[in-house]
C-alpha cells in the first residue's frame, strides 16, 4: 500500500485532469466540424481553417499580435536579464526591488490596464501598438525575470571565477562563460514573456486603437457576437501555439543542469 494515497485521491485527480482537458478537446474537435451551427457533428472538414486564413481582419490581428509579442518578449527579456545580473549579489532593499519587479504578477490586470489607459490619455499618447508595447513589456518583465534568475542561481560563481583567474576580463567572461551558461534561461524567459504577451487580452483590450486589434481582442468581440466554428478554429491554433512554446520553454529549463 502506498501510504501517501488516501481514499479517492487518485479518482479525484483523474477527475480533475478530465475537467482540465475535456473543454479544450471539445473545442478542438468542434473546430473540425463541417456543420455551420457547430452543435451537431456532421463530418470532418478543414473549411474553417481555410476561412480564417483568408479573413483579412484575422490576418491583420495575427500580425499585430506577433509584432506586439516579439517586441514585448525582446524588450522584457533584455530588461529582466540586466536586472537578474544586477540582483546576483544580495544588497539592502533587494527584497523591495524584487517585489516591485514582480508586482505585475499579483496586481489585478484590469486595474493596471485602466490605470495605464488613464496615464496615456493624460499625457496624450494615442492608443495602438505604441501604447500596447510598453505596457506589455512592463507586465512581461516578471515572466522573463523568474526563469533567468532561477538559472543564474543554479549556475554558481565557480566557472566565472575560474575564467577570471585565467585573466579573462569582465566582458570576455560575460560573453564566453556567463552568457552561454545562461542561454537556456534567457530563451525560457523570452518564450514565457512571448506567450504571456501573445495570450494577453485585458491590457490590449483597453489600449488597442483602430486597426491595432490583437488576436485575443478579435476573439473576444467575435465571442460576443456569437459562437461560430471560425472562433473554434482560431482558438485551436492559439492553444497549439501556446502549448508548443510552453513545452519548449519547459525543455529549455531542464537543459544541461
Amino acid at each position: 500500500m502506498n501510504l501517501r494515497r488516501l481514499p479517492f485521491t487518485r479518482e479525484i485527480s483523474l477527475g480533475v485532469l478530465v475537467y482540465l482537458y475535456v473543454p479544450v478537446v471539445v473545442l478542438i474537435v468542434y473546430s473540425f466540424n463541417a456543420n455551420r451551427t457547430a452543435t451537431v457533428w456532421t463530418e470532418a472538414s478543414l473549411d474553417w481553417y481555410r476561412k480564417i486564413l483568408t479573413n483579412p481582419s484575422i490576418r491583420n490581428a495575427t500580425w499585430n499580435s506577433l509584432v506586439l509579442a516579439t517586441a514585448a518578449g525582446i524588450g522584457s527579456t533584455l530588461l529582466a536579464l540586466a536586472a537578474a545580473l544586477g540582483m546576483r549579489t544580495r544588497f539592502r532593499g533587494a527584497g523591495l526591488v524584487e517585489a516591485v519587479l514582480n508586482a505585475p504578477l499579483i496586481l489585478p490586470e484590469i486595474v493596471v490596464a485602466v490605470a495605464t489607459l488613464m496615464l496615456f490619455v493624460a499625457i496624450g499618447i494615442d492608443m495602438g501598438l505604441i501604447a500596447m508595447i510598453p505596457a506589455h513589456i512592463a507586465f512581461c518583465i516578471p515572466f522573463a525575470y523568474l526563469p533567468i534568475k532561477a538559472r543564474l542561481e543554479g549556475m554558481g560563481p565557480s566557472l566565472e571565477e575560474a575564467a577570471q583567474d585565467l585573466y579573462a576580463n569582465r566582458f570576455v567572461t560575460f560573453r564566453r562563460v556567463t552568457l552561454p551558461l545562461l542561454w537556456p534561461g534567457i530563451m525560457a524567459g523570452f518564450t514565457l514573456a512571448f506567450v504571456t504577451s501573445l495570450d494577453d487580452f485585458l491590457t490590449s483590450f483597453f489600449l488597442s486603437g483602430p486597426g491595432s486589434t490583437t488576436l485575443p481582442v478579435y476573439i473576444f468581440s467575435a465571442i460576443r457576437a456569437g459562437i461560430t466554428p471560425e472562433i473554434n478554429a482560431i482558438s485551436t491554433i492559439m492553444l497549439i501555439v501556446s502549448v508548443a512554446l510552453v513545452v519548449t520553454s519547459f525543455l529549455l529549463g531542464k537543459m544541461r543542469r
Partner: protein, 295 residues
C-alpha cells in the same frame, strides 16, 4: 565573481525597475487621483474638477432628486458577488488541489514531471479560449444541456449566464495556481515521517490532520492567495459565462471605461478592488507572523 559595485548594480537593475515604476506605479497613482475627480463631458475625466469622495459614496448611496442620499444596493451586490465567488473558488480549489497534489507526489519521478507539465499547460493557454470552451459545453443546445434537460423534470435547465457558470469558469481558470504550490510543499517532504506516524499507530484520519494538512499549509496559503486575488479581479470569466446579469467588479470597472464613460467612478471601484486585495494580503501576512513563533 567579484562583487557588483552599487553603481554598476543600479545600471543593471535600474531600467527594469524604472519601466515597472513608470508603467505600473505612476498609472496607479494617477488612478487614485482620478477617483476623486468628476466625470468629463467628452472624454472620461474632468481634470479641472474639485477633488471629492463623491465616487466612493456613490458605491453605497444614490443621490435622490432633492439631494437626500438613498441606500443603493446595486454596486454593493456586485462587490459582494465578487467576494463570495472568489472565496467559493478558493475553497473548491483547496479541496480539489490537496488530493491532486498528494496524488502527484505519490507518483514515480518521471510520471511526476509529466503530471506537473499536464497541470501547468492549461495555465499557459489563453484564458479567453479556456472560458470560451466552457461556453461551448454549457450552451443551451449543447450535449450537456440536453442531458440535463432529460434528467431534470421541471422544464429546461439554464446552465449558462448565472453564478454557477462563473464559478465553474473561475475554478477552471485558477486551479493550477492551487495545485502547484501545495505540490511544491510535498515534493521536498521526507515521507518516512508519514510512515513513522502510521507505525506509531496513527490512523488515516490522524495522519491527514496531523501530518499532511500541516505540511500542505504553506502551499495552501500561497495557493489561496494566487487563486483568490485573480478571481476577485477577474473580468473574462464573468464577461463570457456570466452574461449581462451576473457581473463582477472587473466587469463593473470595464463598464465605466466603456459604455458608461465614467472614468472617475471606474477608478474609484479599482481603488476599492486594490484595497480589498491589500486587506487579504495583510491578513495573510499577519496570520503567518503569528504562526512563526510557535514553530
Amino acid at each position: 565573481m567579484s562583487a557588483t559595485s552599487p553603481f554598476r548594480r543600479a545600471g543593471l537593475v535600474g531600467p527594469a525597475l524604472l519601466v515597472v515604476l513608470i508603467l505600473v506605479g505612476v498609472p496607479l497613482s494617477i488612478m487614485a487621483w482620478v477617483s476623486l475627480l468628476g466625470r468629463g463631458a467628452t472624454i472620461g475625466v474632468d481634470w479641472q474638477s474639485a477633488p471629492s469622495f463623491a465616487n466612493y459614496t456613490k458605491l453605497i448611496w444614490e443621490e435622490d432628486f432633492d439631494g437626500t442620499l438613498l441606500f443603493n444596493p446595486t454596486y454593493l451586490s456586485i462587490l459582494w458577488r465578487s467576494v463570495w465567488q472568489a472565496a467559493a473558488t478558493t475553497v473548491i480549489c483547496v479541496s480539489l488541489g490537496l488530493p491532486v497534489a498528494l496524488w502527484m507526489s505519490s507518483l514515480s519521478r518521471g510520471a511526476r514531471d509529466i503530471a506537473v507539465l499536464l497541470i501547468t499547460i492549461p495555465f499557459w493557454t489563453n484564458l479567453l479560449v479556456r472560458n470560451y470552451a466552457w461556453l461551448i459545453i454549457l450552451r443551451e443546445d449543447g450535449a450537456v444541456s440536453r442531458a440535463a434537460d432529460a434528467i431534470w423534470p421541471f422544464g429546461p435547465v439554464q446552465l449558462l449566464y448565472n453564478d454557477a457558470a462563473i464559478l465553474i469558469g473561475l475554478v477552471y481558470s485558477f486551479l493550477p495556481f492551487m495545485i502547484l504550490p501545495i505540490y511544491a510543499g510535498f515534493e521536498k517532504f521526507d515521507w518516512r515521517l508519514l510512515e513513522a506516524a502510521y507505525d506509531l499507530g496513527a490512523n488515516r484520519r490522524r495522519a491527514l490532520t496531523r501530518v499532511i494538512v500541516p505540511l500542505a499549509m504553506p502551499g495552501m496559503i500561497a495557493g489561496s492567495m494566487l487563486v483568490f486575488i485573480p478571481s476577485l479581479g477577474s473580468f473574462v470569466t464573468a464577461a463570457i459565462l456570466g452574461g449581462g446579469k451576473s457581473m463582477m467588479l472587473g466587469n463593473l470597472i470595464q463598464l465605466q471605461f466603456g459604455q458608461s464613460r465614467n472614468w472617475p467612478f471606474g477608478a474609484a471601484i479599482s481603488v476599492v478592488l486594490l484595497a480589498l486585495m491589500m486587506l487579504v494580503l495583510m491578513g495573510i501576512a499577519i496570520w503567518k507572523n503569528r504562526q512563526e513563533p510557535k514553530r
